[in-house]
Assembly symmetry: C2
Homo-oligomer: 343 residues x 2
Amino acid sequence: MVRTLDDLAALSGVSRATVSRVVNGGPVSEATRRRVMAVLESTNYRPNLAARTLASGRSGVVGVVFHIDPHLLFQDPYFAQLLQGMTDVLSEQATGMMLWLGNRSKEETLEQVLLMGLLDGVIVTAYNLEDPLVDGLLASSLPTVVVGHRRADRTASYVDVDHVQAADNVTSHLTGIGRRRVGHITGRRGTVAGEDRITGYRRAMARAGLSTDGLMVDGDFNKASGAAGAVQLLDRGVDAIFCANDATADGALQTIRARGLKVPEDVALAGFDDLEFAAHLDPPLTTVRQGVRQQGAEVASTLFQLLQDPGGGARRVILPTELVIRQSTVGQLQQATGGVTGA
Amino acid sequence: MVRTLDDLAALSGVSRATVSRVVNGGPVSEATRRRVMAVLESTNYRPNLAARTLASGRSGVVGVVFHIDPHLLFQDPYFAQLLQGMTDVLSEQATGMMLWLGNRSKEETLEQVLLMGLLDGVIVTAYNLEDPLVDGLLASSLPTVVVGHRRADRTASYVDVDHVQAADNVTSHLTGIGRRRVGHITGRRGTVAGEDRITGYRRAMARAGLSTDGLMVDGDFNKASGAAGAVQLLDRGVDAIFCANDATADGALQTIRARGLKVPEDVALAGFDDLEFAAHLDPPLTTVRQGVRQQGAEVASTLFQLLQDPGGGARRVILPTELVIRQSTVGQLQQATGGVTGA
DNA sequence: TTGTACGCGTTATCAT
DNA sequence: ATGATAACGCGTACAA
């Protein structure tokens, strides 16, 4: 069995170094290159990654850590899209990917694995305000890019969107069409997205001179919490609801219709994410388009930049969001697509 | 910065070999062990995986390949559970995991990555009757365990359930409660699970002396195809529907109720998987429990057996399934849980 | 119990 | 353009 460069060298009558050059595209005469290539193809040789990594210091493999409950992970198309975007860029760069999915308790085990010098860099999601794993990664010498960011991550490299501004925009849209009692079903408390969207909602309401007293109920980024939250808000007589994401809005819509109320005539409804199903709800949902797949691609690109220029300092990217106005807020008559927001 | 065993050796006044023994639990005197440990903890040293793999031939990392459309992957809780089961066993064995998710076209790229000698073994899903990637993996020298199996995989190591027998059991249950026109909304054609469940359905119907003419419609393992399939079957006057999985049954249930028909009085309904939501449908769904998480754990265990005893030949495991009878077939009056089936 | 020394397969530097 | 040869960091016979 042919396994090593030495085997190939013996077979093709050249030195190991030359074979290595052929494999990696170094300077080799056309004649010997062809000769070695022939041997190479007849043996289906594969370079040993461990040896290659040890010698060169680069593995061509990056780690991706989705540090959240696996249960959640496999319910939200958001993650599929994010991953897709990363894969787009990674495969383009012929780079492999090691994926870790929310090993709840074992943050330390995880850290160990990540720091073993096999990875060129790592991408990690930071959805919670407190996350020791993310802290550990950022403190390590491993090049790291964060999806989302916390206040404390100002010095880290990250890719995020401006949740505050986006939420402000949606809320302003709702007040702009004349709604006064705009309710908000929040995302999970303790998450960056959840808290920031609350901030944006409050800011817009305050600017419009409206009170938010009794108009906020806690949600959990899922359909069930949307359905439950809407029950409370409707009891308090809202004329619009801004939901922390599309799944929540889906649940709220269910409650609203069960009560025989009309959207948007009785209650205007808006979400966040613009996942595929949002456009197919009845009525189609006004929401914020995040461009999740692009976000994934951007994260991967950022990591590559970091790897290429390690001394270049942290990269901070805030991607634009887009307010997508559909019938759940403006009815059948007016239709439009709002402008780009964010920085 | 302390990075290597040599650094630690210098710091603790012993040889590199001794430090290595301390790290890996070799024979060391209690005195020196304590001394080295102290240094170890003060430096948060991490062994270099590449070097370790190169020297020992084992990496402590296995690959897991979910070779399916990522879009599908993130919709079905099945995969979350499968992964969970694997993780249970892997973390128990202090083994890392590299995860690949359905890189559609790039089967060859994928293969390359897998065969680079960094992985101790690999787990791969084989849901389709034809799958070049699985073929390649099985043909390679890398220890491989397959989730599910095709006819041709008789010589491979795999973990599966007896889909034929399980489908036979559900169908027999339906005919056993007096239904004569039992329809079947199939799984995706070309998948092992889809085809085998059809076989089981047909077998049970034949044994009961019933025809299946016009009683089968093609589905796709999802809710939408269940809803669409039920329309056709109801038009043909079925009194029971066996759906290829729970998601399909969920869709069918929607159609049935939309027509004002009652379950199980007018139409008895059964699924396959026993995912969490099956018990919470209205009425609760009769289905086949697969024990997906256990299946994942079993796959991982099987791989470890293979790694420990490479010469031991292929391991083939068929896990039992359980018919879970709920109100969607027997109404409010009778309730029971059926026996264990499979081998 | 501890240390010495070699090998794992590759990259990279230096001569030639 | 090509060939020796020294790292890379660790495990592990073997010797002491």
